[in-house]
């Protein structure tokens, strides 16, 4: 069989072909004439490599270079998208898993460096951004023993307290506080709400929405200006597929960008370019990055199916997740997929100019989009015929008609007689949204 490689010379080629038949990494390394440093970190070429990046054999790093590589991706995402500026107070959503642990660590390190600069600087012109941590306790939706969750919360408190200075406020909030009523009432209402959703996938997706709403509530009640999520490449790849499968192709591009300013407090994703595999490796390499295991149970229904599918694809080709995210990245984002312009005079003009230069150019029309009151996805205008609005339930015609087709199918009850009851247990924020549904957000039109 002829060798098609254009870079081989005949004697080396024959050997290379033979080696290919019996893969032995070490001898293969010896044969690849050009790469003489197979046994050294590819970046610093000094230390022993201890792990592989996504690129497999070609990206063997030592521990420090591996971490710096990941931190570099994080830092670039933050700077390029002006995610965090000096006057900001960022709330890091912490679930206990590897991605949120890493994003918390990186945000802390960034803050620490900023603090050092501030201390060393005489004129104190650049204040250091504030960081808080939010953990949402979802134990009322599962059957954990209270001991388990208490231990987990203790671990989290310890982690956050060790990340000082600068100190960070920790919010441990149960999911039922999304409802304005307190304690027992909230638990009951939450149970009623989740029981009213018969579709397994709908239930999971509704819970995700409630999580986001609660984070918004915590952030706005405590003066935070940004919410940081540890969403990684792998999770975004899964979201691309599952949104496609649920018929949410139009709104897909809104959910997967670096910045999402649909809500009152913009949500940013600095780990968007980091694959889960690398984040897991980092946590296992670095003993100080403790993960808090929470048995939330595997996703079932469509979300679980998509997860296993992407896993199978990854095994077949380790760069598949990146390709999926890159493809979806070519879809046109929305006007709210950038950080709102900074008009704060406290922010140095250099930062403001930088942000202006690097944030996404708004696409075409800045016309107000209408949003689904349940999942906040932007609705395609043709999918929302105004004739529908006059039908249905008199009290809340807006909500039913203005929900996206996916939520209408998997979340709203099929039986119209159950609709009243369902609407009564929805969080107030969703009902209010429905009322103002198609007025959109004009603040970004300035």
């Amino acid at each position: 069989m002829a060798c098609n490689s254009s870079t081989c010379n005949s004697s080396g080629c024959y050997k290379g072909y033979e080696e290919e038949e019996q893969p032995k990494p070490n001898t293969k390394a010896a044969v690849n004439g050009g790469n003489s440093c197979q046994n050294l970190c590819v970046k610093c070429k000094v230390n022993e490599p201890v792990c592989c990046g996504i690129g497999g054999e070609n990206s063997r790093f030592c521990k420090d270079c591996f971490k710096n590589n990941l931190y570099g991706k994080f830092k670039q995402a933050v700077t390029y998208n002006a995610m965090i500026t000096p006057p900001d107070k960022v709330l890091v959503a912490f679930s206990g898993g590897p991605s949120s642990r890493v994003v918390l660590q990186f945000v802390h390190e960034m803050q620490y460096k900023a603090q050092k600069n501030y201390d060393a600087n005489k004129d104190k012109s650049l204040p250091v951004f504030g960081v808080g941590v939010a953990f949402i306790d979802e134990s009322s939706t599962h059957s954990f023993t209270s001991l388990h969750i208490e231990k987990a919360i203790e671990d989290i408190r310890l982690i956050v307290s060790n990340l000082a200075p600068p100190s960070k406020e920790l919010f441990v909030v149960p999911i039922e506080s999304i409802f304005s009523s307190d304690g027992i009432d909230g638990k009951e209402r939450l149970k009623e709400l989740l029981d009213a959703v018969s579709d397994v996938t709908g239930k999971e997706d509704l819970l995700i929405r409630l999580r986001i709403l609660l984070l918004q509530k915590i952030a706005s009640e405590n003066g935070y200006t940004r919410i940081v999520l540890g969403t990684c490449t792998s999770r975004i790849a899964c979201h691309v597929i599952s949104a496609t499968v649920k018929g949410q192709g139009y709104s897909l591009s809104a959910d997967i960008q670096y910045v999402d300013s649909r809500w009152e407090i913009p949500v940013v994703l600095p780990l968007r370019d980091c694959p889960a595999q690398e984040l897991n490796t980092l946590c296992s390499l670095d003993g100080s990055l403790k993960i808090v295991e929470l048995l939330n149970g595997p996703c079932s229904g469509i979300n679980g199916l998509v997860s296993s599918f992407v896993k199978v694809l990854q095994e077949e080709n380790p760069s598949r997740e990146c390709t999926i995210v890159r493809t979806a990245g070519k879809l046109t984002p929305f006007h709210f997929n950038r950080v709102p312009e900074i008009h704060d005079s406290n922010v140095p003009s250099a930062t403001r100019r930088h942000q202006k230069r690097y944030t996404l150019k708004p696409n075409g029309s800045l016309s107000s989009d209408s949003f689904c009151p349940i999942c906040s996805s932007p609705l395609k205008k043709s999918n929302f015929p105004s004739s529908l609005r006059s039908h249905g339930n008199q009290q809340n015609p807006d909500l039913i008609a203005s929900a996206c087709s996916s939520c209408q199918f998997q979340i709203l009850p099929k039986d119209p007689s159950l609709m009243e009851e369902f609407l009564s247990v929805l969080p107030q924020q969703m009902i209010t949204k429905a009322k103002h549904g198609d007025q959109g957000d004009f603040s970004l039109l300035r």
């Binding site: 691309v240 199916l305 390709t323 879809l331 046109t332």
Partner: protein, 369 residues
């Protein structure tokens, strides 16, 4: 809602449409209990509506039906003739078949098409790879192996269909691509990074600016329903998968969609809807359309893909045109920058990659032929 994987024998349940006959089956698309006659009626009516709403045909059109002898094309030929008669479309229908030269598969399925010609009274034309290109698929596979052969087949078939259609002097070609096929293609294009194809693959009519437009009347029809229809109507079709198909990447998407359909049948149509709704900028760099220097066929490069592949075969360079390689020589400045695996989504009519479909869900019925 969790869906049952097998249709239950209904017992005393009545058909939900006519409320008179006993329900004989559960409709895969909607899980409704329905009797045979109503199933035929709703199946045919939905296709009729798709044809009307999308204005696929006009009276006097000469239409070539891409016929492989498989279930999709057989049902398409049957239903189109039926609707043509019933609703007076005024169409002249023909069967057009492509012989790729795959022994043990194509030669058998061609016998089925020849029988269809007699059964449906539609004139048949067969075009073969051997005549058009000088190579059969068996010979090609011997040369290039089992990895990229779907690409060759797909590219060659597209041209073969157009050549056949030109010989028949037809206005359009109708293919049996069903909802499952299109959903798989949407997923494949996401997985492969082909944004340009992603924007086109959900169109029910394609190639309007090319030699012969093509349409897919089965765009909203589920594969399972096509099989059910063919089975109950006792239509004559050939039901073995292409012998080269197990290695195709499409298999991943297919498996996934089968699992998906079990949990949520409407997901297949939802994928197609997503594909239609994707916000893809029209200023995205799309290939410019020209003609091939060698054969005059439509092409975005100097040479059309079929000519590049053929040149590779004839010169003993099987990798030519596969992957992101430079073209034949730098003087000719031929570079097909597209990764070839993406081509394999073309013309999937004949490579259905489907394990005997009846076995899947007809466990209840005795069906093995």
């Amino acid at each position: 809602m969790e869906a049952d994987s097998k249709p239950k024998k209904s017992g005393a349940r009545l058909c939900c449409v006519c409320n008179q006959n006993r329900a004989a089956l559960k409709r895969p698309k909607t899980l409704e209990q329905i009797c045979r006659e109503c199933f035929y009626a709703v199946f045919e009516e939905e296709i009729h509506q798709v044809i009307l709403e999308n204005q696929l045909f006009k009276p006097g059109d000469r239409i070539a039906i891409g016929a492989s002898g498989g279930k999709d094309s057989t049902v398409l030929a049957y239903v189109l003739s039926e609707l043509n008669r019933r609703h007076n479309y005024g169409l002249d229908l023909f069967l057009l078949s492509v012989d790729e030269g795959i022994t043990g598969y194509r030669d058998d399925s061609l016998e089925t098409v020849k029988r269809n010609e007699l059964q449906y009274g539609l004139p048949l034309k067969i075009v073969s790879y051997k005549d058009l290109y000088g190579w059969t698929m068996d010979e090609i596979v011997k040369m290039i192996g089992l990895k990229n052969n779907c690409t060759f087949c797909g590219v060659f078939r597209r041209q073969a269909l157009d050549r056949g259609a030109a010989l028949l002097k037809v206005d359009k070609v109708a293919t049996g691509h069903n909802a499952d096929d299109i959903a798989e293609t949407v997923l494949l294009n996401i997985l492969r990074g082909d944004i340009a194809r992603l924007s086109r693959c959900t169109s029910i009519i394609t190639g309007e600016d090319g030699p012969i437009p093509r349409c897919k009347p089965f765009k909203c029809t589920y594969e399972k329903e096509i099989v059910m229809y063919a089975y109950f109507k006792k239509l004559d079709y050939f039901s073995t998968e292409c012998i080269y198909s197990p290695n195709a990447y499409r298999g991943f998407a297919r498996e996934f969609i089968k699992d998906l359909e079990r949990i949520r049948p409407r997901a297949i149509l939802d994928i197609i809807k997503s594909g239609e709704d994707f916000r893809i900028s029209t200023t995205t760099k799309m290939p410019e359309q020209g003609t091939c220097e060698r054969c005059g066929y439509i092409s975005s490069q100097k040479w059309c893909k079929a000519c590049v592949l053929l040149e590779g075969l004839n010169r003993g360079l099987p990798k030519l045109g596969i992957g992101r390689t430079q073209g034949l020589n730098s003087d000719a400045k031929i570079s097909n920058g597209m990764v070839i695996q993406e081509e394999s989504v073309q013309g999937q009519l004949f490579c259905t990659n489907q394990v005997n479909p009846e076995d899947q869900f007809f466990g209840f019925y005795i069906c093995k032929k």
